[in-house]
């Protein structure tokens, strides 16, 4: 029998019922406030250029201009912006997953000498705030030591730094630690190479956690502003989060709102469709500190 602070019996008393209704009303109010900016962007995007400045609240447009959405899509060149974002984030997530899972597998099952120090080294980067090293990181990307490459204005300048994520390594390692070592040992007796163990045992068994890390990384990288803003000076290469803001000033407010609403659709769809994975990720996040 599911119960909260109130039992099922108490809920049927007048006091219990009042409490429940007040709680529900507060939650609905909070939900309305939370959703308001989405709703506001959507309806403002439907308004004509005079209606949007008209006096009065006018929450629902009298004469919806669906054409605004088509115009915003075309004038902001949104297919290009989305394509940039998907390339940056997609490749970034895949590379991060490969690098992190390989490292986690090694630290967990291959027992490298000095593994604990390396783990500690990974985890220390979680303590150093990003604002404390984005300036030298920019300098590094301008002239990568040893190889002397300039990664500025190239997607590699984002993909490679995106591979650095101690949180993913930590979460994956914790998960792989729980896979019985007997599986690895018997595979080794059968003559399997480390790469075969990784591909045929570890990765299939870690599928659930890999999806969680993948969804979390996708949302985190999609939201990123500072690094793509610093690395990509060419407007044609910039992701939607960076470009949209700078384009917005050149267009009327109703088109800005329409474009913003379109830009929000992919992350919103992910949040709604994949929310159970993100929920797992949140509880992992709570453990992190």
């Amino acid at each position: 029998m599911d119960r909260g602070f109130l039992s099922a019996v108490e809920l049927r008393t007048p006091a219990g019922r009042t409490y429940y209704l007040v709680a529900l009303a507060l939650l609905v109010l909070a939900a309305v406030l939370t959703l308001f900016p989405f709703f506001f962007a959507f309806t403002s995007g439907l308004k004509g250029s005079t209606e949007i400045f008209a006096a009065g609240l006018n929450l629902i447009p009298a004469d919806p201009h669906w054409q605004n959405y088509a115009d915003a899509w075309r004038q902001f060149n949104m297919p290009r912006l989305f394509a940039n974002s998907f390339v940056i984030v997609g490749v970034g997530v895949i590379l991060r997953l490969i690098v992190s899972s390989a490292a986690a597998f090694s630290l967990s099952k291959l027992k490298p000498v000095g593994g604990r120090i390396i783990t500690l080294g990974f985890l220390t980067t979680l303590m150093v705030p990003f604002i404390a090293y984005f300036v030298p990181l920019f300098k590094t990307l301008n002239d990568v030591p040893i190889v002397h490459l300039n990664l500025l204005n190239s997607y590699w300048g984002l993909w490679l730094p995106y591979c650095v994520d101690a949180f993913s390594i930590f979460v994956l390692k914790t998960f792989i630690d729980r896979i019985p070592s007997d599986l690895i040992d018997s595979a080794r007796v059968d003559g399997a190479t480390a790469l075969q163990m990784f591909r045929h045992i570890i990765l299939p068994l870690s599928r659930s956690i890999l999806i969680v890390v993948c969804v979390l990384s996708f949302v985190a990288l999609w939201k990123d502003f500072l690094l793509p803003y610093l690395v990509l000076a060419d407007p044609l290469m910039q992701p939607i989060t960076v470009r949209l803001f700078y384009l917005a000033d050149d267009y009327s407010v109703n088109l800005q709102m329409a474009a913003s609403f379109i830009a929000l659709l992919p992350p919103l769809l992910i949040a709604i469709l994949l929310q159970r994975y993100m929920k797992v990720g949140l509880t992992l996040g709570g453990v992190k500190g």
Binding site: F5, T34, Y133, K139, M257, S260
Partner: protein, 313 residues
């Protein structure tokens, strides 16, 4: 044979001294090579794009650096400049006020929401998704929408004030309103994550605990106060620290929404570092700020650890 035994004895003696087993190491060498091959991509990535820049940040704070890479040692000069910089005092005052507003507006909201959602018998999933939605919104897009909500002339907020018979406000240009207005955007953008973490934690409490409390005559409010909230305290204290760390670092919202203005009212450390490094191209001075931020946030974390261990004892 003897030489082998001698060598083995020597190896064993050495391993007893140093805790390092030479013979086992030789046998394991191929395995160690594979282990490091799997670690290599991460080591290279962390080395180039995390460890090296972090060390470089500390080094550069004692140098005068140009973007081309030429550098000279200047000792503590950058830190002296930081103390003399008229912006320094303003920025720390801003940080304190941002912390005040973000904790006042945002710290208890997720706790209350989690407690209320826990109590719902139906619709839990709906509320969970709704409160979570803003957390996936990129700050740079949120800013475009909120800029229009706050617009002095056509914005909905001033229209609402007008309908209520109050005078309009210049939300983002007003000296006293700019900070809370920014913090409202940040809170909207972030509270869902924290609320869901609290909710997950509340779901862990055994229902028998409530039943036992009820049998002992504890009122519903006492059950919240003595069972629900105490269960949340450890996570609340962690979220308190994480919120401080996040607010001290804030960049995108003030950078895009107010550009530090009006005056310097919303200038944050991250924006100052950005301005000094990329507009005035004074990387050394910017790094002095970076190092200061590492130290300040480390001090926060240490205070948190000490206070926490005192409290839990």
């Amino acid at each position: 044979m003897t030489s082998y035994l001698l060598r083995r004895d020597a190896d064993e003696a050495r391993s007893k001294r140093s805790g390092f087993d030479m013979a086992r190491f030789r046998a394991q060498l191929p395995r160690q090579i594979t282990a490091y091959l799997f670690l290599l991509p991460a080591l290279i990535a962390f080395g180039l794009f995390a460890w090296y820049p972090i060390v470089n940040s500390v080094v550069m704070s004692f140098q005068d650096v140009s973007l081309t890479g030429a550098s000279t040692w200047v000792g503590l000069h950058n830190f002296e400049l930081m103390l003399k910089d008229p912006a320094t005092g303003v920025i720390w005052k801003n940080v304190a006020e941002f912390l005040f507003w973000s904790l006042a507006l945002g710290f208890f909201v997720p706790v209350i929401i989690a407690l209320l959602v826990r109590e719902m018998r139906i619709g839990k999933g709906f509320f969970r998704v709704v409160y979570f939605l803003p957390t996936v919104v990129p700050a740079a897009v949120a800013v475009i929408i909120w800029r229009f909500i706050y617009d002095p002339d056509a914005g909905i907020l001033n229209e609402l004030l007008r309908q209520l018979g109050m005078s309009r406000q210049l939300w983002l240009q007003d000296l006293t309103l700019a900070k809370p207005a920014l913090v409202a955007v940040m809170t909207w953008n972030a509270f869902g994550t924290t609320a869901l973490i609290y909710l997950a934690s509340l779901q862990d409490i055994s229902q028998e605990l409530y039943e036992a409390a009820e049998l002992d005559g504890a009122s519903p409010w006492q059950r919240v106060l003595h069972i629900g909230l105490p269960h949340l305290y450890p996570i609340m204290s962690l979220m308190f620290l994480l919120q401080i760390i996040a607010v001290v670092q804030v960049f995108t919202e003030p950078f895009l929404l107010t550009f530090g203005g009006p005056g310097r009212e919303t200038l944050t450390p991250a924006m100052h570092i950005y301005n000094r490094a990329f507009i005035r191209v004074d990387l050394g001075y910017a790094s002095a700020w970076s190092v200061t931020m590492i130290v300040v946030l480390a001090v926060f974390s240490i205070i948190y650890r000490v206070v926490n261990s005192r409290l839990s004892r």
